[in-house]
Symmetry: D3
Subunit: 340 residues, 6 copies
């Protein structure tokens, strides 16, 4: 389908086929009131050492999810090409305007990059980024690691994830890559609303694809950053790009990854009300169906009893709402079930 | 000085001298484009049972600090007047517009309530709130508990705090009230920039005053809320308002409160740069002068080494910067010294 | 055409086939900066009593048109299923974000819902609402009543309306439904710019369709609300859903509905200037071609004579511009001709 | 007090002492980002014919109240100096930036001009306007007519008003001027929150002062404009400036003015809730204490019963809330008592 | 392709086939919150005198480029039909909302008109303008002159330009028209990113097309306006519409037009950094590859050496960045090579 | 007066009394929604070499005036302490937030720094900057050079300026310093609205004070920067701080400075209209009283004749309006008279 599209207006100032470490920009023309012939500059690094597999490593798909942004900036600044076999392409801030603004979506066009794949070369700036990645970078890659966390409004148990796929061989490869990432938790999921996702686009092209949710609340911690850095090296080692002794073994792995499952839509607890939220459970806590997991104090007069929010299934708290206020439609919590 | 001021335009629809539990509003006239004869409605509860001391309990001084907001809404909704002796006046959302917006300062006038005391009756809406509290509520109070935490941009070790004061008898009373609050940490401090603070205004009127920093990051957790609720009851019990068996003993106290000191300005680590911040230490971690406690990746090209931020003194991490991006002038961390 | 579209991302938490009164939400996933996994919650009520025709009742197509919003909230709260035969599906605030904001269009995406039918499941949130109504609710309906009035910038004589249609049998049914609504005025019109309208989409599916213009100026009055409530019951009675003695007879009908016609484009008087507008005629006033119906004082120096705006045809004033200022392109007035 | 103030930065390009009709500007320097050496231009007209009293006529004190704006633009454009004795100074848009924006308050500085008298020459632009009027125009005037109506958010019975004053001779003069204005209703009131009002400043200087509330809803109608124009001429005739046969007699007066009284604070009905408002009474309707005068449907789920708002005293509806949505603190209605 | 599109919603109130001078509007319906049935009004003038060629003259394609806006307003106000043979259609402010706002793009929808050709009748307002011009005005024209300059963020040597085209006969006609314009500089260029441009659309229809860059910096000067006015008359004379003695000879032509060439992408110098920019060369200056043409002082601490920006090829400065600050992706300078 | 003020909250991290070159920050605490304990960081450099006079050099008083910003950043980065005798204190971006935003006034509080002197330590951030400069830096200085130009909305002939002062000895010193600056033009003026200016505050403390207007239009050119750099060195040489051979002689001076006078208020030409402006004269052009110096095309219909703007006195054009659109109250041009 994409073959009939016009060429991408984005240009890259690196030679992706050259050995060594290079750092430059994808340049996306963006004519606007404050820069008639301006451009969006998206940093890119490529590190190559001879023949071998190619990994595409991305963060900043959402601009306020920080573990991957830090781990990939660190990798780009410190990795010696001699340590690898093959090629690593790094987009540490894939939606660069969102990263710069500290927001999930692009301040330029409101675009949520992970809902706009495979993109369009003649669309919005965010669609143009998706299109360039789809048509120019994904075809070069054998495996893809796309870092996420909860952003400013959600917080997650640290996990790596892959999808249940029709292509079972691909599914197995993805699952192995998740295991190699070695996060405290792992999740294998069916995506319910997969339209526009980077994941779906890459998987449809047969690429080994790993995504993560490593924390959130609009911040990163030494622990969540360590999980990202360690997982990144485990992923590259498993892909055969990073020598083993530069990879997983350089940092202590978690003793055991707990695999999680999300059996149905009752995993999601959504608010119908607005007000001040009092959470009664937090990440990792076990809950039983019917438990009161949060209370909401409506705005207005004090002295009124809060509304109770009940869990709709048994499980553990995998994700939680962060802001102190809640709006109708907000996700209060996500519950998952450990796989025995 | 305040005696020559014009009367406050704020009216209260409760009779603060009446026994029982009442819930109503402070009504602050606010004529504006979208409501010609509109008003700001500030919820207030008063719970009284005969003669006895009066406690003024406030939260929402900053609108994005949630532990106190929750604990006071809970108290107003559940406290039976029969449980107390004296009077409790509760302003669960003192800067109501800021609370409603989920912001530190008021969306109406940009006012930071805790920099505008003692306020003005003919000033901005936020100044009018400060003035009403100063001239109409503080005079009724024997003791004051003002809840804070770090808000959306800072996170704190959970602590209650009082000031080093010229009036040593008052200082001792405040210190006892902090101890009764029973948080995991306690801080006795000299305020460097005390102009406009609620604390200063209340202390100058001889009131026992306790403030807190109970967490932050724009959220609250079951643990931080429990500290707030337990501390609130400990404070009221120590003030002689809440019977002991309704107070501290109803919830398990922390085994031991650790007192902290902030000896000098080197406790504050301020960023001179902007970029993506990688924290290397977190709350409670010990640091030595010269340790690299954070790294900053400047915006722009990837592949560059980050800038290092060094601790300027020994101590433990008492507060930390939350957002994943940092700006020049942002507080990266605050260090404190445990008092042996 | 719509059959090849992807499924709607909207889910409904009601069982539309069940007897009784149910109240819930259409849930439209809306990932955004302030709620990563958030949703738009659109209230929906369904009231059913056995077999029989289905009426789809909608208001809040534009968010600032209040008579229908009130009449449908009232109906949903008070109608006993035993009073009806068949089913009533109520969307009291079809463009819920616009209703919540008090604006014509959606604050989320700027969408004017009544220009976006039949919608798209992969478009903007407003397009997704249109698509869900088109593909999931319209097919269930026999007749549709969509409430409008002038909103904040126009004011109308209270009228119900239908279109002149190629399908004369459908046109006759619509005309009878307008008569049953029983507003003081009725209008049968040719829509000049019908692209994207709910009306056109429903009529193309063969549904009896009635729309209204019941007042405006961003407000509702006891009289205009009474017209809406009475018309609503008349419409349902005529459709065979509401028993006659629960319908039109419960409230005094207008003695006579005056039918209006809009013969040509000269019915619209458009301003070419900006300034302070002085209306010389008001709703229902008769005008002759060439009459000065308004004067405009340009901004700037006082002491200048105003510009005169002349009626371009004979008629009565059916709609008028509300705001005290006028801009180039604003509709100053609409004239219609009573049908003898 | 004002004598020690620095000079006003505002200059007037008219000679207010010259005979004839002149039209020009008050020029208020306003340096800003989009005009380094810019100015606010406030239109002013002066019409003089020999010795005699001076009337100061103002509208646009609030920028969205249109009857006076129209009547004064009309007067400035059409009055022949030969028709008068003395002098008329016209500020048709006193808060010119608010008028230009169609808002109650100034878009420049948020200033509500009628809360900022007597103003400051070194304050905000709105304060500078108040100061210039206070120190340069009020001293020239014998009588002042300041036009108001309800603006975009309130609607009033058409009335002229004066205050109950300590100086009973002045009060009598004001009352006579209100009578000469000849609106359908008249109101004599005690101002509860008079700080910053133009009224108070003018009355304190001993000027005959009349204010009005002539309608509202952000619009004007032929009837409300006629009341304004007729009242204006009646006022000028009573002041001895306009010859009788040019004054009140040129337009049919209302047969009888109904005087109203506002005995206490229960005249104001204020909302404590937010939601969709259904008014049950309208302007001029009689109400009894306890009557349900409005219902409020909270946002969210449909199918819930609305909240009822009860009148707190007997009276007639003198003013009503306009927008279809209501917020906590909004004035729902004002009740007054006809004086027998 | 465009034949299957729905009809344009834009109407024109002029008869383009009538002799004489007419001035009116293109009316684009634009329903919105502040005008439910509002419209965008785009001024249009047509001046016709019998049979003969038609020129379409446009300015305000970008709203902040002023020479053409002035020259076409002047022409529309002063041209006597008797002076011409044929027809001139003038759109002095093609993107009228952008012109009114003083911005490159439309404040309504963010549309950059010159990236949205050939437009859509069912798209955004800016797309609707492009569609109307493409389908209703371009077919009437023999030749098109579209005025541009650098806008607020770029400044250019004054030049007229045409494209290198596959149709060499058309290319020759365009080149002759550029020569007739007679600006100090002329440019023949290959457009690298021609998608959406007015130029491309007109050329594809076989129209003689001339564009210009006549200055910039968000302003116009007597000299740049004179170049526009003289070029406009030269263009019309060469097209056989304006008699020679009314055309080029009425104003002194530049003695010689210097033709420029842009051989490759190295003509563009783009910033990778943000900061305070110190330009070292200006318009018309010669540069050699490697010359430092600008320095950038990064924000933050003073006392640091600036970054140097080097020319990537020999040439003269044809365009320069205007604002005192520079952002990553901004065009610092454009270099061109005089054709010997 | 200022002695009774509270201490400034601003701290400086440099030792201004130390020899050598130091670069650091003034730190202004600024608590806000996006940084609870944030600060404004204002860069400062001090270069000292033993005893001698002190010069205070400031730019960025207005944030969009670039010549001084560039010259002072250059000086701070390149000046060797050995080249001077005494001390130079450099504030290259005095209103740092305005500089960072590229705006005349502060984006934080709207403050125009040059209207807020002498400032307040308990006021807005901009007032706090003024207060710190007044109370902590001005007392250290013997002479002050404050760089200005026209900013984004005005453009000036390049000039240095001083005031006519009551203290004739000070006036003479200022005049000598202006002469030493050696700009193409010089201006000695009476400030009409001197309230709040840095100039007035410094002069009242007896400091030699020079200000400039070196260009504008929101940009800087190689020529205007050269004037700034040369003038800066001439000023320092005349002050006895910079050795002569490092000063004026290092760059070619203008052969002759032309002194200008502004005799009266007719020097300013102010627009009463809004529209598209066509300037007929430019900087340096001679004009005679009554000359048409600009034309204004009102918005709306094309084909109308423009309004003419006439010079109100003889002179040369010293400053001009930059944007292509003009608003009522904008300064169209400033005329000055060369002193023979």
């Amino acid at each position: 389908m994409t073959d009939s599209l016009p060429p991408s207006p984005i240009s890259c100032d690196l030679d992706l086929a050259r050995d060594g470490a290079q750092h430059g920009f994808l340049r996306l023309p963006w004519s606007r009131d404050d820069s008639a012939w301006g451009a969006v500059m998206i940093p890119i690094s490529v590190i190559r050492n001879g023949a071998g597999p190619t990994a595409l490593l991305t963060a900043g798909n959402h601009g306020d999810e920080y573990e991957g942004l830090i781990a990939l900036h660190d990798l780009a600044a410190t990795l010696d090409p001699a340590q690898i076999t093959g090629r690593i392409i790094i987009l540490p801030a894939m939606n660069a305007p969102a990263f710069r603004a500290g927001t999930r979506t692009s301040p330029i066009d409101g675009g949520n990059l992970n809902r706009l794949f495979p993109g369009r070369p003649d669309g919005t700036p965010t669609q143009k980024i998706a299109d360039y990645v789809t048509r120019h970078l994904l075809p070069l890659a054998d495996c893809v690691l796309d870092f996420h966390s909860g952003g400013r409004t959600l917080d997650f148990l640290p996990l790596a994830a892959c999808h249940i796929l029709p292509d079972k061989a691909l599914e197995a490869r993805c699952r192995e890559a998740v295991a190699a990432f070695g996060a405290p938790y792992a999740l294998q999921m069916i995506e319910m609303d997969a339209v526009g996702m980077f994941d779906t686009t890459a998987e449809a092209m047969g690429k080994t694809f790993v995504t993560t949710e490593l924390g959130g609340a609009g911040t990163a911690t030494p622990r969540s950053i360590a999980i990202a850095k360690r997982g990144l090296r485990g992923f590259l080692a498993q892909a055969g790009i990073l020598a083993g002794d530069e990879g997983a073994t350089t940092q202590a792995a978690w003793p055991e990854t707990i695999w999680l499952d999300m059996p149905d839509g009752d995993c999601f607890l959504v608010s119908e009300e607005e007000g001040l939220i009092e959470p009664l459970v937090t990440l990792g806590d076990p809950v039983m169906r019917g438990d009161v997991v949060a209370r909401i104090y409506p705005f207005g007069r004090s002295g009124r009893m809060p509304l109770s929010c009940h869990a709709r299934r048994d499980g553990i708290v995998m994700a939680r709402h962060v802001p102190g206020l809640v709006k109708p439609g907000d996700c209060i919590a996500v519950f998952a079930v450990p796989v025995s």
